[in-house]
């Protein structure tokens, strides 16, 4: 698990829990202890606020500040206004990077979303070997991202890997996927989907378990087939969950660094350099702190948009 999807999952919870929340009055404070002078309450949230200021708020401001200045290595130089942003948006690499991010995120989404939904439906449906199947479905996700990336690197190794043995015997030659741009991007996308689909599954599973028994009953009485039931009952019931899962997965993919870092480092020829990976490379390989900060602010903006979508759908929830 990584920091990236932690936050995203937290969002899912908040997003999805919204519907069931009772109004504050019912769950409010014991009336005797509620008063305007009750300032002590804030003592309880000071530590957590301090940690957040230190790790998130402060660094964000620092990043914005850095983006507005020239930098040499890690020294902040003169104020340069929006120069680094002008440079960022006139850089032809940016368009490519955004394109890569889109292909990577949407590609992984298109695989992980149906895989997660199907897995959840299957898991919800079977009664025998349920624990075994659940462990199987969760296995990839229990691994760390670093593990997922590196075991595929070894599995696809062009010289000694079993994948090469299979493709060679079929006459395709070795699976040298990480050295050509198109296949590298494809491989990284597939590995990410492979690793992340259980997360979609867990969210769907939670929602499926709340499908009212009457709905299933009525379907059984009507004698509708599996497909009929899926299209007319399960899918509409899951509509909001699907939106949430899409947002959660997109957030996860947009900020994915680890899997790309351990497999391709953004290469070859920057073919797998998504925006997040670009921030990493600009910071730790090119030492272009000002440029990295500008890219990071752009990434932050993308993230804000996704967050807003998530919050909006929480409010609109009707089911």
């Amino acid at each position: 698990m990584s920091n990236d999807h932690t936050a995203a999952r937290g969002l899912a919870r908040e997003t999805l829990a919204g519907a069931g929340e009772t109004p504050p009055t019912r769950r409010g404070a014991p009336t005797a202890r509620r008063g305007r002078g009750d300032r002590q309450v804030w003592l309880y949230v000071i530590p957590v606020s301090a940690v957040f200021l230190f790790v998130f708020v402060g660094p964000l401001i620092y990043t914005a500040w850095t983006a507005l200045h020239e930098t040499t290595y890690y020294q902040i130089g003169e104020f340069s206004g929006l120069n680094s942003f002008v440079k960022l948006f006139s850089d032809p690499d940016l368009r490519k990077s955004i394109g890569t991010t889109l292909v990577f995120s949407l590609g992984a989404l298109v695989i992980a979303l149906p895989a997660g939904l199907l897995s959840a439906i299957v898991l919800n449906d079977i009664s025998r070997f349920k624990r075994t199947v659940r462990s199987l479905f969760l296995l990839t996700w229990l691994m760390s991202q670093a593990t997922a990336g590196t075991i595929w690197v070894w599995f696809l190794n062009p010289n000694f890997g079993p994948a090469t043995a299979i493709t060679t015997s079929l006459g395709f030659g070795p699976t040298d996927v990480f050295t050509t741009p198109a296949t590298a991007l494809l491989a990284v996308t597939l590995i990410t989907a492979w690793w992340s689909y259980p997360q979609a599954m867990l969210l769907f599973l939670g929602a499926l378990q709340t499908v009212p028994e009457e709905l299933r009953e009525s379907l059984r009485v009507d004698g509708g087939g599996i497909w009929h039931g899926f299209v007319h009952i399960t899918l509409p019931y899951l509509r909001n969950t699907i939106v949430s899962v899409v947002v959660v997965l997109l957030m996860l993919y947009v900020q994915m660094v680890t899997i790309i870092l351990v497999t391709t480092r953004g290469g070859p020829l920057a073919a797998t350099e998504t925006l997040s990976m670009r921030v990493f490379n600009q910071t730790f390989n090119e030492f272009d702190l000002s440029g990295a900060s500008a890219t990071a602010i752009l990434l932050f903006a993308v993230n804000i948009v996704l967050t807003l979508v998530a919050i909006r759908f929480r409010r609109k929830e009707t089911l």
Partner: protein, 283 residues
């Protein structure tokens, strides 16, 4: 009797797609895993044999005993320290916050909690540039407390949300009764709320452990010296800096690094799943 046979056949037919799906999933999920386990049990020259052999022959545990180097042990100790420290710190700061956020709701409190949630969704890589360049200048880099604080901050938003769901389920009457009996707020939290949400605390602790254990990026960016790196850095180190034939050791390292997570999952499966889904998805 006559009716049951076609029905049974029908049942099997209806089940068929499900099991086909499960088998296909297994074929997609398992090969790389089996390959790693197989590699970890091979003698050095067999790991780079081509065409590859799936079943190691002879089987050796030499790769596992070969892992006991001071550097590798340090990786494991570090990860344990980071995980333990993060669990302690996150619980210490999140339980009080979750408690007052649930029981003393006000507009400002809600605003604060939303703020925390929104900030916890900021991509880690965005703040890492700043954290790195700030830490490098202040010698805070490569220190246990700093990494623990960063880990804690990343999981705090989720931890609070999760704990709030548990606290909400405590009947208010219990707390009111305690208040009438003269318990202070701190005593209510300590003597009533915390004992009642123990399962939630356990689930959160498991979740934090797995998160910190599996994280690669924080260790990569904020621990720059080898002696502060984590288990996940140890895995990748074989590929990035390894020379010679390291595949056997690499595979064994991956298996050993996965054992704690797998053991936690097997031992606490119910809480584990609860930690991941509950509080959760209500439709």
């Amino acid at each position: 009797m006559t009716a049951s046979r076609p029905r049974q056949a029908n049942h099997v037919l209806r089940r068929a797609p499900t099991w086909v799906y499960i088998i296909v999933s297994a074929l997609i999920v398992l090969p790389p895993v089996a390959w790693i386990v197989s590699t970890s049990l091979k003698v050095e020259k067999d790991t780079i044999q081509f065409p590859p052999q799936w079943v190691p022959d002879p089987i050796t545990f030499g790769n596992y005993t070969g892992l006991f180097t001071p550097t590798n042990i340090r990786f494991f100790v570090n990860s344990l320290l980071y995980a333990g420290g993060s669990i302690a710190l996150a619980l210490a700061i999140c339980i009080p916050a979750a408690y007052v956020a649930t029981r003393y709701r006000s507009r400002r409190m809600e605003a604060l909690m939303t703020g925390i949630l929104v900030f916890s969704m900021v991509p880690a890589i965005v703040v890492f540039i700043a954290l790195y360049s700030m830490f490098v200048k202040t010698a805070l880099i490569n220190t246990y407390p700093m990494l623990i604080v960063v880990y804690t901050a990343i999981i705090c938003g989720q931890t609070i949300l999760f704990l709030r769901n548990f606290i909400e389920n405590i009947p208010l009457e219990i707390e009111e009764a305690a208040a009438i009996d003269g318990c202070s707020r701190r005593q209510i939290l300590w003597r009533i709320v915390i004992p009642l949400i123990r399962p939630g605390i356990a689930a959160v602790a498991i979740f934090i452990f797995v998160f910190v254990w599996n994280d690669f990026l924080v260790g990569t960016v904020l621990a720059t010296t080898e002696d502060m790196k984590t288990v996940q850095n140890g895995i990748v180190r074989y590929i990035t800096t390894g020379f010679g034939n390291f595949w056997g050791l690499f595979a064994a390292f991956i298996v050993v690094a996965f054992v704690p997570v797998l053991a936690t999952f097997v031992a606490f499966q119910r809480w584990f799943i609860a930690g991941l889904t509950s509080g959760g998805v209500k439709g």
